[in-house]
């Protein structure tokens, strides 16, 4: 077997080890908070798997490092050592160190560094020894002879345990020439014989030069399951123990190692998804159903259609539609992974930041099993990190401030994920001080974002923090004040087709709500006609569509148009203007106003009319053409023509920029 064939499992190993490290970390943190002893087993198991796999998949440095950590854990697990804060601390550092080693493994750089070396020594010192014990085992009995007598009597239960004398004696035959004499006297009377028990025994004469260790090696698995005596008949020489151990040296050639690394790097680039067997089985079933339906429909190639056959045909088409839909859902499901992998980074981060700031924070995770599209999952981490940092830094108060406000010393930070309609909603909420309206207004006035806070609703004030370059902290800490503002958070989320909103109550806390599409690959949309062209408006953005009278829309100074919708004046965006479509309807009362919402702002999209609802498979415009402002992608309609997908958030930004200009 080629080493390269195994490289695929090397990547899997790295991925599962990183998951194992996450598990170790979260379990260590739970232990720190007084979790139960089962956690120690969980941590041990993770370390144990990493150690075993690392040695198998060619990372001896990781294996040896983990061995030290595992030994320490083993003492805790077996009750020889009590778990304390110091051990949790050093284990957490070991987790970080291993993450670094795996990162270097993926990059193909040397695995050990100074940190790893010193931590490894620290772990070894905790175990009461300076260096790991060597594997040299002195064996007094090692010798060699020309002829041996082996007496072998299996215990009654040996056969049921799967060890077969046939196999053992055949193996001995590979060492030297055998004369096998059975011992039959212990076999009970036929009627009383329990067929699965062994009552035979053998005396085996072995001729030919052989080492005791080789013979004993044949019986290694049956120690304790048989009586065994190995006697030398003609001793040749005493062999020193060190020479007796022949090290198996599977030294991979340089070329092999290079191939492995190349493979590893290649697989690191194209990201992969691990799919449960259940999901794959479900897919296979569905494909099977499709094939059956297809062959049933195939029978309609020949022969005419009468009423009876028509009914069958309709039934077949209905089946085809159902299976196609189910198949689509299942395939999309493959890209869905639980948000737990993102949530799991936060316990450690919250612990570190709150300690640094002298705050007491309890982190609550809700809905960790909520599944998200893998792409969304990979990109939602950074915005969430920012929101969590902000919440601890600016939202939650120090214990004395909390006491002064009549709250408990410990603040609560909640990360919650759930399905809501066709969306995933992720909330980052805290029970801290809430937004400081006066400070925000003052800052916004200073920045020239607004003239004054007079008449602004609380929500409108809260919206100000999403403006570019906005920062309110009286003292910029090294945690949040890193030049990344809430505007970047909003833009990152918008790039995922989602929105961020905030609800805040002074003195009670804040809730940031991220709303995300279930998947980026397919959207539900309404097809709108504008002139000769078709546009898809994402269903999630649509509030309502209304037919307006011409006089309902008013022009305002500066060239914009407004219309009244539920007591609010909304700007009009004429799609034919934005995208330059010819032959489109111009008169307000002949077309349709689609009220949409993006980034917390409502606008009216003026289109000729709506054609229907459909699911659109999103094709990247960037990959096939170039990025176009106000368009998030394209899709192919049933008739083969192309429709562009409207990017509502982008249009809203475009609109506000025009207004500002």
């Amino acid at each position: 077997m080629s080493k390269a064939g195994l490289a695929q499992f090397q990547q899997v190993f790295i991925e599962e080890s990183l998951e194992g490290l996450d598990t170790m970390e979260s379990s260590l943190l739970a232990l720190d908070n007084g979790g139960d002893g089962e956690l120690v087993h969980t941590i041990f198991r993770a370390a144990h798997s990493i150690k075993g796999g690392a040695a198998t998949f060619g990372f001896p440095e990781i294996s040896s490092f983990t061995h030290e950590a595992e030994s320490l854990l083993d003492e805790v697990r077996s009750g020889k050592r009590a778990i304390d804060a110091a051990i949790i601390e050093v284990m957490l550092r070991a987790v970080d160190c291993l993450r670094g080693m795996f990162a270097r493994a993926q990059a193909g750089s040397p695995l050990n560094d100074a940190v790893a070396e010193s931590l490894r020594n620290e772990l070894a010192a905790l175990m009461g020894r300076g260096a790991p014990a060597g594997g040299v085992q002195a064996r007094r009995n090692v010798d060699q002879a020309d002829a041996w007598t082996i007496r072998f009597r299996p215990h009654a239960g040996m056969l049921a345990g799967g060890n077969e004398p046939l196999r053992l004696i055949r193996e001995l035959a590979g060492i030297g020439e055998l004369t096998v004499t059975p011992e039959l006297d212990r076999v009970p009377e036929f009627a009383k014989l329990e067929p699965t028990e062994c009552h035979l025994g053998w005396t085996i004469e072995l001729k030919g030069p052989a080492k005791r260790a080789d013979i004993a090696g044949v019986f290694d698995w049956v120690e304790g399951e048989c009586d065994l005596a190995i006697e030398a008949k003609h001793v040749v020489a005493e062999v020193a123990p060190a020479a007796a151990a022949t090290p198996a040296a599977p030294a991979a050639s340089v070329a092999d190692a290079g191939a492995v690394r190349a493979q590893r790097e290649a697989s690191a680039e194209s990201s992969s998804v691990r799919v449960s067997i259940d999901k794959i089985d479900g897919l296979i079933n569905l494909v099977g159903e499709l094939v059956i339906t297809q062959s049933m429909l195939d029978t309609f190639r020949e022969g005419g259609i009468d009423a009876a056959r028509m009914a069958v045909l309709e039934q077949g088409l209905a089946q085809l539609a159902r299976h196609t839909r189910e198949l689509q859902e299942s395939v999309m499901g493959i890209r869905m992974l639980p948000i737990a992998s993102v949530f799991n980074r936060f316990p450690r981060m919250v612990r570190d930041i709150s300690q640094k700031l002298g705050k007491q924070v309890k982190l609550e995770l809700v809905g960790e099993q909520t599944e998200l599209d893998k792409t969304v999952l990979e990109k939602i981490g950074d915005p969430m990190v920012h929101l969590v940092r902000n919440a601890i830094d600016h939202g939650l108060e120090t214990p004395d401030k909390r006491r002064a406000a009549g709250k408990g010393d410990t603040g609560t930070l909640t990360l919650a994920a759930s399905h809501r309609g066709g969306n995933i909603v992720v909330e980052v909420s805290d029970d801290g001080a809430g937004l400081n309206r006066d400070a925000i207004v003052a800052k916004a006035v200073q920045r020239g974002l607004v003239a004054s806070g007079e008449g602004m609703s609380d929500d409108a004030v809260a919206e100000l923090i999403f403006q570019p370059g906005f920062s309110t902290a009286a003292v910029t800490t090294d945690l949040s004040g890193r030049g990344v503002g809430m505007d970047v958070v909003r833009r990152n989320v918008a790039d995922l087709g989602g929105t961020v909103t905030i609800r805040s109550t002074q003195g009670k806390g804040s809730v940031f709500t991220i709303t995300l599409p279930l998947t980026l690959a397919i959207i539900d949309g309404l097809t709108a006609a504008v002139g000769d062209e078709r546009y898809i408006v994402p269903l999630v953005s649509i509030v309502e569509s209304v037919q307006l009278k011409a006089e309902a829309v008013r022009s305002v100074a500066g060239g914009g148009e407004l219309f009244r919708f539920r007591g609010e004046y909304l700007p009009v965006i004429r799609l034919h203007d934005v995208f330059g479509c010819g032959e489109a309807i111009q008169a307000i009362d002949e077309g349709l106003m689609v009220v949409v919402e993006g980034e917390g702002t409502r606008v009216g999209l003026f289109v000729d009319g709506l054609i229907g609802q459909q699911q659109a498979v999103v094709k990247s415009l960037e990959a096939n053409y170039r990025r176009v402002q106000g368009i998030s992608g394209a899709t192919i309609l049933a008739d083969g023509s192309v429709a562009l997908i409207v990017d509502i958030a982008g249009l809203v930004r475009l609109q506000s920029r025009r207004k500002a200009a």
Partner: protein
């Protein structure tokens, strides 16, 4: 070779026991039951021609059976022995004790 199985034959007649293809530990309870009945027959023929897999426990069972048969004066002969069986008996040094024929009967 005789017929493969005759489970309903009355005691006092000749009996043929056909050993199963998988003649190993987990199958032995059934084989033992058949052999136990055969002890009541006038003579027994053991057909091991179809044995594809065999283990120590199986040969031990046959050994105990032959001993029981000879203690009762029941003639027990082989009507067929597969290569697999012959080889296994050889490895375990049981060829003689099982009185396996030197070559297959014609």
């Amino acid at each position: 070779m005789g017929s493969k199985s005759n489970p309903q034959r009355k005691a006092g007649e000749a009996r043929v026991i056909a050993l199963p293809a998988d003649f190993r530990l987990t199958e032995l309870a059934d084989v033992k039951a058949g052999l136990l009945q055969a002890l009541e027959a006038a003579s027994v023929e053991i057909d091991g021609a179809g044995v594809e897999r065999v283990d120590t426990a199986a040969l031990q069972l046959l050994l105990a059976f032959r001993r029981a048969a000879s203690a009762r004066g029941l003639p027990a002969s082989w009507s067929g022995v597969s290569e697999t069986m012959r080889d296994a008996a050889g490895v375990l040094g049981l060829t003689q004790a099982l009185e396996l024929p030197a070559t297959m009967p014609a």
